[in-house]
Amino acid sequence: MTDTLHLEIVSPERLLKDVEVAMVVVPGTEGDFGALPQHAPMMSTIRPGVIEIYETEASAPEKLFVKSGLAQISDTGLTILAEEMIDLDTVDAAELAANLAKAQEDVNAATDDNVRGLAETELAWMTALSELVS
């Protein structure tokens, strides 16, 4: 019986985190959920949002912004597969605003559905991020 949750965050490039934590709040596609130790096995896709990692129950959460991904809770712990991740503290507001404008432009300029789809995803992501920062 463990009273900590084993958390692994993996990106295609490397294993980002491999730690024992008290709780993690994950932005699932169908709503945020908190994962505590001994959570029932589940699998959920992730929408753009913030993963909050509580190292101990009392500590302030470490916040990581993810674009998309998959969370899997099994007997061994919580595994998050995520392609892109940003530490919220490092986000530059001005840069973000520029990116947001560019994403909007891309959506408007898109000629075929495919490009537009991609641009819209990008825009949704940027919007979510900027809402969090401001």
């Binding site: 295609p12 490039e13 490397r14 029932a40 096995p41 589940m42």
Partner: protein, 298 residues
Amino acid sequence: MASLKDLKNRISSVKSTQKITKAMKMVAASKLRRAQEAAEAARPYAERMESVMAGLGSSAQDTPGSSPLLIGTGKQDVHLVIVATSERGLCGGFNTNIVKGARAHIEKLLAAGKTVKILCIGKKGYAVIRREHKDRIIDLKDLSAVKRLAFADAQPIAQEVLAMFDRGEFDVASLFYAKFQSVLVQVVTNQQLIPAPLAELADGDIAADALGGAAYEYEPDEASILEDLLPRNVATQMYRGLLENAASEQGSRMSAMDSATRNAGEMIDSLTITYNRTRQANITKELIEIISGAEALK
């Protein structure tokens, strides 16, 4: 017979070539280490992705209406062959081997009456394939500006491939690259990307192990998760292939440059011997001339 001066020039030119190959070997060795690290770091993601896919896929495979990325389009007519090679030469048989493998595969498909489309990643393979299959090449992806391969480099290529698949431009996609085994051994691998080759995965115990036999709760549901995962799996597989390829390229270059350095050393030795012999022969000849001249005056 070459004059002394010629020999001297040749020796010095071989020596400077040797210096270059030695430096290239050293550079390749350090790049190889980095490429290997990158390949290793990417492993956890790919493994987890694989296990989740295997778990989800095996159950969805028999369900009608699953994504064509999983079960295919039902046809096998148009094949997309993605050939990943290097951007630079001087890496031994690396590119030749990949192209050879890809070519054999293409020939086989053509003989079976299939339509083949080729997507080249890397200039070196493109240059060779272009000679025979110019009309079949649909695009060349140039990665020469990329110093350190990131997921963001593989993703656009994968997205383009997926977009083509959505438009129904091909039925089956496979990726040719060299899998890194050791500095001396790189295995040309043909990996099927679309439809996802789950049969292999599901065969083993991976599928059972992956989900630990536990009953999972799915959010939203199995099918949507799989739907979300499949395109990402293509990008992951492609990224992994490119990483392996990068490591193989450096490994191949390292051993090629190592043997080039050794050859240059042997050449320098034999040229030095020739040089010394010629010099000695010249001295002897001059001595004979002097002595016989003196004899004649007696």
